[in-house]
């Protein structure tokens, strides 16, 4: 596949670059020789069947997991060498929301802001209202529905000044309207120069120039793909 996500030009200082990335989980080689480059202002959707390593790739890209081989470079430095620099600019949303049921939506967001850097001039009430959570600010999250909890987790992205969003199935439990709202937020983020890497089985509606996709199955262990 001659998709331009796989361009291997020599500008390693731009954005997020993976070099010969390989991932082994439980004695199984999920993918190897993965070279991808994703610059500012792009949405990269990672596709592939269940179990082909999409979640693992996202966890590698945000630094939770260490690659068994290869490197991930952020502006030319390995993210696992200079963690603080990369973490200050990235946000990750996994299968779990990372919100506490005992805390209210507002308290959850305040804690998220304390852990990273609050976005300049962000108003938490406004952000929650934008995600249709107006009126639910002070209710403990365990009394909210699964979709509302997902919205609280997504609100974290707007409350902090991370530019790289790594999102694993962000639309889980969201209704149609919610998905459309989040897609608008995604587009806004990339037009402002942000980067989004996500997996989803929902057909994304975003403008063509921002969108890239990557089929992870092409990098499965038996496909012998030369990189350069």
């Amino acid at each position: 596949m001659g998709k331009d996500t796989l361009q291997s030009n020599n500008r390693p200082t731009v954005g997020l670059v993976t070099v010969d990335l390989e991932c082994i989980r439980g004695n199984r080689l999920l993918f190897s020789h993965l070279n991808l480059e994703i610059g500012a202002g792009k949405i990269l959707q990672i596709e592939g069947r269940n179990g082909c390593g999409k979640t693992s790739l996202l966890r590698l890209l945000c630094g939770i997991m260490l690659p068994s081989e290869g490197q991930i470079l952020w502006r030319g430095t390995d993210i696992n060498e200079d963690r603080a620099e990369f973490y200050a600019e990235s946000a990750y949303l996994g299968h779990h929301n990372g919100t506490k049921g005992e805390l209210s939506a507002l308290e959850n967001l305040q804690f998220a802001q304390a852990l990273s850097t609050p976005k300049e001039g962000s108003d938490l009430y406004e952000i929650l209202a934008r995600l249709s959570l107006a009126g639910f600010e002070d209710i403990p999250c365990r009394h909210l529905s699964a979709g509302q909890n997902r919205r609280v987790a997504l609100a974290r992205l707007l409350a902090t000044d991370a530019t790289i969003w790594v999102l694993d199935e962000p639309f889980t439990a969201l209704d149609r309207k919610g998905i459309a709202e989040i897609e608008t937020i995604f587009e806004e983020h990339v037009t402002q120069g942000g980067t989004i890497i996500l997996t989803t089985h929902h057909p994304l509606k975003v403008n063509e120039p921002y969108y890239r996709s990557l089929n992870l199955e092409e990098f499965a262990c038996n496909s012998n793909r030369g990189d350069q």
Binding site: G63, A88, Y92, H96, G98, K100, G101, A114
Partner: protein
């Protein structure tokens, strides 16, 4: 970016501390468990070995210390487990602030909730076990120096086993041997104090152990949490 006044390391430390204390106080039912466990275990001994003051007096320091140790052991699970299960621990590891500092705040919160109350109740239990009044002060000092060590050392083990479904027994196997020095010096100091002997040496050893674990445990715990979340 991070040197904005509202986002310094101290601020984050206090935020994590505040969050963990808030979470603990919203689970009021569980809050008292370690303390009640401590009281019940200690009060079982007079029932088991009989009310003779001579016996109880000699075994009192040991009983109180072993009960404190078991109570700390029992409460370790609350330190990281729920955060691990709902993904908050992952979010904490992805903060650009040093994980060891964030972890230290969590350990401090754990000690304030489970260790500190023991200091206040221990003298009363001492009276129950006929512990001589001269030893009370030493009992409280040894617990004040020793229980933070239990939280600090326990955190390393908890960090390593938090990813396991049933890590309880493994946690005990990992952590209890490391608690032994604290038990020996803590109980011995109280014994000596009861006999009217000087105890400074024991307290210095406990103080040294506290400083050692205080400096090393946050780093080891941070590393073990990274292993568990990956």
């Amino acid at each position: 970016m991070s040197d904005r006044p509202d986002n310094t390391l101290t601020h984050v430390f206090l935020q994590v501390l505040k969050r963990d204390l808030t979470l603990a106080f919203r689970h009021r039912g569980e809050l008292a468990n370690p303390l009640l466990f401590f009281i019940i275990v200690v009060s079982l001994f007079p029932l088991g070995v009989g009310p003779a003051p001579s016996i109880l007096e000699t075994i009192a320091p040991g009983i109180i210390w072993v009960a404190a140790l078991l109570s700390a052991m029992l409460s370790l699970d609350s330190m990281f487990r729920s955060d691990f299960e709902d993904g908050s621990l992952e979010q904490i590891t992805l903060s650009h602030h040093p994980l060891s500092v964030l972890v230290l705040a969590k350990i401090l919160a754990h000690w304030l909730i489970t260790g500190l109350p023991l200091l206040f109740i221990a003298p009363l239990l001492g009276v129950l076990l006929y512990l001589p009044s001269e030893a009370m002060k030493t009992l409280v000092i040894t617990l004040a120096l020793g229980t933070p060590i239990l939280s600090l050392v326990g955190a390393i083990g908890m960090g390593l086993t938090v990813g396991l479904k049933r890590g309880g027994v493994l946690l005990s196997l990992l952590v209890l041997p490391l608690f032994i020095p604290v038990l020996i010096f803590g109980a011995l100091a109280v014994n000596e104090a009861a006999a009217g002997l000087p105890v400074d040496g024991y307290l210095y050893v406990l103080g040294a152990l506290l400083l050692l674990t205080l400096s090393l445990s946050p780093l080891a715990t941070a590393a073990s949490i990274r292993i568990s979340t990956s």
